[in-house]
Each structure stands twice: as C-alpha cells, then as structure tokens.
C-alpha cells in the first residue's frame, strides 16, 4: 500500500498548492458569480420564449447554470489544470526527470490534478452555487441519495476531464508548443461540455453528437444526475466508459512518447 500513500500525498500537494492563492481564489469566486448571474438572466429569457427547452423547466435551467459555474474551474473546462504544467515540463525537458521517478507518470499527474479539482470544487465552486441557490429559484433535491449520486458523478467527471487534458498535454512531445492545443482544449471544452447551452438543448444531429462525446460526462451528466433527469447508473456507465477509454489512450500515447525522449548529452 506504499504507492497508494504516495499518490495520496501527491493529491494533497495539488490541493495545497492551489489553496495557497487565496486572493486569486476569492477573485475567481467573484468572477464565476458575476458570469452566473449574466447567464441565468439569458437562460430565463430563453426558457421564457420556449418553456421546457431540452426537457428542463426554468428552475432546472437555473440549476444547470450554477452547477456549470461551480464546475468551471473544478473540471478545468477551459483548460489550465495539470496539463498546463505537464506541457511546460515537456517543452523544457524537465519531463526526463519525472520519467526517472519510481512512480507512474499518468497516475502521478492524475493524483495531482484530482487534488487541484477538489480544492477548486470546495474553494471556488461551492460559494457561487450557494449564492445561486439563495437568490434564484433552483430545482435542488432534498434527499441525501441524489447528492451522494452527484458526488460519484463528479468524481467520474474529474477523471474524464483529466483524461482529455492528459492526451492534449502529451501531444506536446510532438508539437513542443502547446498553444494551439490549449486553444483547441478551450474551444471544445466550453462548447462540447455545455457551458454555452445545455447539451440537451442542442438541436438535431449536432445534439446527438455532442451528447455522445466525452465532454458530455463533465457537466451534462452530473447536472442530470443531481436533478434526477437520468438514471444514475446509466450516467456512471457512460462516464466510466469514457474514463477508461481516455486513460487507456493516454497510456498508449505515453508509451509512444517516452520512447521519443532524448535527454541532452545522454
């Protein structure tokens, strides 16, 4: 069980590192709250025009907005989590040091990113969500099981989110400059996670496609699980499948990538 303790320590390190920036966290809470308010008003106008869009009523649409603001930095939907550091380390060559460590590269970064996610959820996510619940009518369940079901969905969402960003980061082994990939992560994340509009309100074939992609596991699934719009077990299966596929792909890519590493002078 020695390695379990190691990854727990890495996760705790990720948590503490983000907990250090208190002013930045407060600023983030403020920004998420402002954006939440703007988005809530536009959603209310939209649902006024077309009630039950995507099968949600107004209270559910509002809940969706605030859950989105809560998970925005938790799941690094726009990017900017562990993958940013990993890309830097690949570009500068420091990754060679990591490869010598007696720890698994993927698990190491997963643990570190989970620690970060957990801090962002508690430090940045909970306050905007509570603010939303206090000032806007929300469709929140009152039973403990729905909230427990949400927690499981959130954990799976964190792993899927990491899986996507880990793949993106590994591309730096070939591309070196991560800017283009980071931009792609941002665009796909914002759009396909349903930050712009809930995925169930996307029309036609476009809707079918985005609802099948891994990004749907990040915000749409937890929201539907919380509000009882979907069967939790089905949602978990969807999330877990993508988590496994992404992590396995990450592992394969990692093996291919580490064979490319040429340490200077070595």
């Amino acid at each position: 069980m020695g390695s379990g303790r190691l990854y727990a320590a890495v996760a705790a390190g990720g948590f503490r590192r983000y907990a250090t920036y208190r002013a930045a966290t407060l600023a983030g809470v403020f920004t998420n709250t402002v954006f939440g308010v703007i988005l809530v008003y536009t959603y209310l106008a939209l649902w006024d025009e077309k009630p039950h869009l995507g099968g949600y009523d107004q209270a559910q649409a509002v809940t969706y907005v605030w859950l989105g603001q809560c998970l925005y930095s938790t799941l690094a939907i726009q990017g900017g989590g562990a993958e940013k550091d990993l890309m830097d380390r690949i570009r500068t060559g420091e990754i060679a040091v990591d490869l010598y460590r007696p720890a698994d590269l993927q698990l190491w970064w997963l643990a570190s990113d989970l620690g970060r996610s957990l801090f962002q959820l508690l430090g940045r996510g909970v306050i905007p969500f509570t603010f939303g619940a206090l000032f806007f009518p929300m469709a929140l369940p009152t039973d403990v099981t729905s909230w427990a079901a949400l927690l499981v969905a959130l954990l799976l969402a964190m792993v899927v989110s990491f899986g996507i960003r880990y793949l993106a980061a590994l591309s730096a082994f070939w591309l070196l400059d991560g800017q283009g990939i980071s931009q792609a992560v941002m665009i796909l994340g914002i759009f396909c996670s349903g930050m712009v509009l809930p995925l169930n309100a996307f029309p036609g074939a476009a809707g079918d496609i985005v609802r099948a992609l891994p990004w749907a596991a990040q915000l749409q699934m937890p929201a539907d699980v919380l509000m009882g719009e979907t069967d939790p077990l089905g949602a978990y299966a969807f999330q877990a499948t993508w988590a496994v596929v992404l992590l396995a792909a990450g592992r394969l890519l990692q093996q291919a990538a580490t064979r490319r590493v040429v340490v200077q002078g070595g």
């Binding site: 703007i38 008003y41 025009e49 509009l197």
Partner: protein
C-alpha cells in the same frame, strides 16, 4: 518589437489569430444556437441582437488590443518586475499597454466587425444621418469606456495584489452582458450597469435609439448621444484611480 517578434513565426501567428477568432466567435455561435430554438430573446430578434453583439465585441476588441496586457499586471507585481517599469522614463500605463502587445487580438475585432456589418445589412432600420453617424461614435466611445474599465481594473490590482480575475468579471463579463438586450436582465441589474458602471452607454442606450426601441430605464431622448461624454468622464475617473494606485504601490520587498 512585439509585432515583429510575433511575425517571426508567421504560421504560428496565423494559427493563433484564427484560434482567437474561433474562441471569441463561440459566443456568437452560442447565440445562433439559442436562435435555432427561438425567434426572439427578451423581445429582440436575431439581427438586433447581432447589432448589440457586434458593437460590444468590436469596442471591447479595440480596448483589449490596446490595454489587454493589463491582466499580467498582477504577476508583474508579484515577481517584482513592476518596479522596472516605474524607473523607466516613460509613462507606466503606456509601457504596460505595449507589454506583450499582441496583434493576435485582431481576431476578436475582426469577428466583432464581421457580425456588426452583417447586422447593419440585415437589421430593419430607417436610417437617418444621425443614426449613421452614431454607429462609429458608439464603437469609439465604447472602446474608450472599456479601456477605462481596464485601467481602473489595473489600479485595483495594485491594491489587491493578485486578483486579475476580478478584472475579468468586469471586462469579459461586461462584453458578454452587452451581447444580450437589456430587457433580459433584472431592473436593478440594468440600473447598476447604467449608473454605477456605465456599460449601458457602450451599446444598449445608443442602439435603442438606432433601432427605435424604448430606452432601458426610460432614459431621456438625448441619452443616446451621451456616450462620448460618458467615455470622457470614465477616462478621468480611471486616470484618478490609476494615479491613486501608483501612489499607494509598495514594492514586494520588505
């Protein structure tokens, strides 16, 4: 210098401009998505909202091009390199504006301008000389108002040390807000962005005149022509805030 450095990697530059275009364009795609489900939002139709959007994004894009580097101020204060700017014989504000001056931000302006032109071509308006003249005035005054917000935000960053995200709430939040008609928002909210942070003068008020819609908060008729005045006042206030910020600056050392 920054322009030349960006041009050295021509392909990378082109790619990032397009990337920027795509990132900023997502907002409008989001609006289009909404309109794939409904015919109007808050009583406003798509060309009218595109008009609001084009004005807001173009004005914000210009301000962002000139002063968008302000959000690195926080990290400059933290790592102490802000002190270097203070001892140089050039205005600090101009130095920060020129710091990492990024032409890739042209992506946002281009995207805003394209939507604005499309909106002007499709929107149903009885054009008069005053209305035609008001459009460029709105863009320029809007850019100045957003610039003032950037400068005020920078001054706040000196006080708050590391809180660049608060600034994002007002800059990016502001431009997002103005992409939707005022009828969408609560009355107190509209009051706030009219009288406290006068973003309403970037497009809501003057655009209501152009489109012949009732003004938000039933403002008087002449309010549509107030943007240059509002912009001037904002500049003066932001200037004061900036000087107060600089005056209170204590370096990171003990």
């Amino acid at each position: 210098m920054w322009i030349r450095s960006a041009m050295t990697y021509r392909t990378s530059f082109v790619v990032t401009v397009f990337g920027n275009l795509a990132v900023t364009g997502l907002d409008f795609v989001g609006i289009l998505l909404m309109f794939s489900q409904v015919d109007s939002l808050g009583g406003w139709r798509l060309p009218e909202i595109a008009f609001l959007y084009g004005l807001s994004v173009t004005a914000f894009g210009i301000a962002d091009l000139v002063l968008g580097s302000m959000d690195v101020l926080g990290s400059r204060i933290r790592d102490g390199s802000f002190d270097t700017l203070l001892v140089r014989p050039a205005p600090v504000l101009a130095q920060i504006g020129a710091d990492h001056f990024a032409l890739r931000r042209l992506g946002r302006i281009t995207q805003g301008a394209v939507v604005l032109v499309w909106a002007l071509a499709t929107v149903d308006v009885d054009w008069s000389a005053a209305k035609v003249l008001l459009v460029p005035v709105m863009v320029i005054s809007g850019a100045v108002i957003f610039s003032a917000v950037f400068v005020a935000g920078a001054a706040f960053q000196i006080f708050a040390q590391d809180a660049s995200e608060v600034q994002n709430a007002f800059t990016y939040g502001g431009t997002t807000l103005l992409q939707y008609p005022p009828t969408v928002f609560g009355k107190d909210f509209v009051r706030g962005v009219t009288f406290m942070l006068p973003l309403a003068f970037v497009n809501w008020v003057p655009a209501s005149y152009v489109l012949g819609r009732p003004y938000p908060l039933a403002l008087p008729e002449w309010a549509a022509f107030a943007p240059p005045l509002v912009a001037a006042v904002c500049c003066a206030l932001a200037g004061l805030a900036w000087r107060a910020g600089l005056g209170s600056y204590r370096s990171t050392g003990s």
